[in-house]
Point group: C2
Chain length 326, copies 2
Amino acid sequence: MIGIKHIATELGVSVATISNALAGKGRVSRELGERIRRRAEELGYRPSLAARALKQGRTGILGLVMPDLTNPLFPRIAQTVSIAAERRKLGVLIADSRGSADEQTEAVRRLVGRGVDGLLVVKQRGTVLEPLPVPVAVVNTASDPQNTVSADHAGGGALVARHIADIGHRRVVLYGGDPVSEVQRDRIAGMASALEAGIRARVLWSTGDIAHLLNAVEQGATAILTTSDLLALRVRSALMRVGVSVPEAVSLTGFDDLPLATAMHPALTTVAQNVEAIAERAIESLTRALQGEDGPDIGRTVAMRLVVRESTAIPAFSPNRRHHHD
Amino acid sequence: MIGIKHIATELGVSVATISNALAGKGRVSRELGERIRRRAEELGYRPSLAARALKQGRTGILGLVMPDLTNPLFPRIAQTVSIAAERRKLGVLIADSRGSADEQTEAVRRLVGRGVDGLLVVKQRGTVLEPLPVPVAVVNTASDPQNTVSADHAGGGALVARHIADIGHRRVVLYGGDPVSEVQRDRIAGMASALEAGIRARVLWSTGDIAHLLNAVEQGATAILTTSDLLALRVRSALMRVGVSVPEAVSLTGFDDLPLATAMHPALTTVAQNVEAIAERAIESLTRALQGEDGPDIGRTVAMRLVVRESTAIPAFSPNRRHHHD
DNA sequence: ACGCTTGAGTTAAACGTTTAATCAAGTCTG
DNA sequence: CAGACTTGATTAAACGTTTAACTCAAGCGT
């Protein structure tokens, strides 16, 4: 490997001058500076990040902690984070917390132990982050006190609920994945809050028996609002099995706008999370903190966007019964 | 931060002894060794990876390059890799190549520039990797000469094709995503090779018009074999739109066994990739190379597994289909 | 002619480890 | 009991940068 020293002896100057020229910092004449940079380029000089890290106490690496790397949103987050980081010449080290709170703490420790300069953590349901020696940006949900930035899950829920109410539904069921998740709870809460009096909303969770859901439909619910696209696809399948058509008999909505939303039939009405904006802001907040410009931009929330597709429609006339489509 | 030096002065010994005791390397008396380790533990000593990296020339970090981080398999790969790496006390730095071959080269360079000890690259369709100063494990497909380990895509194709043939289909269409992808081509080729003479197979690509596909069905094809679950879901939707039922009228298969495979209706027959085994082996090969035990275990392939669900069935008798001898 | 500033570089220390070389005792060996 | 190992620990160099402090010469105003 070719280092600063090599260039220095080759050009007959001191290493400090090379360092200065390359960093554009100290006093180096225009001419010599040029010459140094040119030669470094020619030699394909790549600074030793390890040495730099040792000296400056910063590694130029960010840690990304996800509750579970198999999370369907992980790819988009990882992508945006990695691109945003790269633009700032930072690396991204990933760590999985495998769904457990303890593992999350462990993951964070490992990353800190590796000397990351900052941490971006997509937080586990309801866990608390211990104080850390590096800046942290937390992505979760607005109702989380430690949150730095997140989608407006409640707002998104309200958005889709309002849409359903607007087109005339009066009996709906809100179908959540797992009540221990803050995000899921917020989405459900948002939906509930947006439904005016006069609308009957029943909350069910997928941790229970799906028969309850079918029951509710039989008893006259005309819309099912789920907290995730995958859940919606499951519901869609269950409905199909008992011959309930979507959206003719019941309207169905998802959450997150995953790729499958457009692939299913009918294409799913859902609410999209601007993952890119969120990740971008998180990184932004992080890099600001790194540079000491500790702006208190905590608690920002990013609006969600309603995407109306084919799975929602004006409710049919008669109160719902099981019917087979013609 | 508390370093080796701190412990040394505190215990009145030299730093070298501390280092030796902690690494279990040099000559240190049993008793003193214990004392040092205990004290280090108490003080919460964490070695500076930067310093170590500088001295040893190894960072303890692996690079993971994916063709596109939004790839649906990325989460599982990332998860397995990160866990396997962690077990070996290695970190994982991710980089996205955004689907472009040039970006892939760039991503690799960046990671190497960051001093990763080894590289795990899930290769872009048909790109060639330049020679690198660090060990590399390539995951792609067996037909790629640079491949280190991969799923047996062709074998998987054969598996699903044989299943379709076994249950009696005689006219099928093989539906691929994009012919520039080596993986997709291998899957299609595997399917084709497993179909005995007497079976009419037509190959179509999703880059073309989907009408061709519906056409083929109208002309008597009773099964559609796709190269991806998402593609299968798309086909399923298209069929539904024109009133063709699955599996009664036509059987449908996917590839990869994504979460959506069980969520759709009918549950999708597909072929599962043992991503975990692949990632594990790749890391294994990589770490072996790191330790100099350069075993030529190149070209290993991991079998795929057929998962029969509800989307495939014995073909129904259909009046507009020609009869033939078995 | 004098001290002052300024521009252009150099020197040398420091970052926190690892590791080869060295050393001081004590223990064998014959 | 002298030399030869052995054991336990120390010294000091090295890894490749960054950076504060310093030198040296030239230009400048008074």
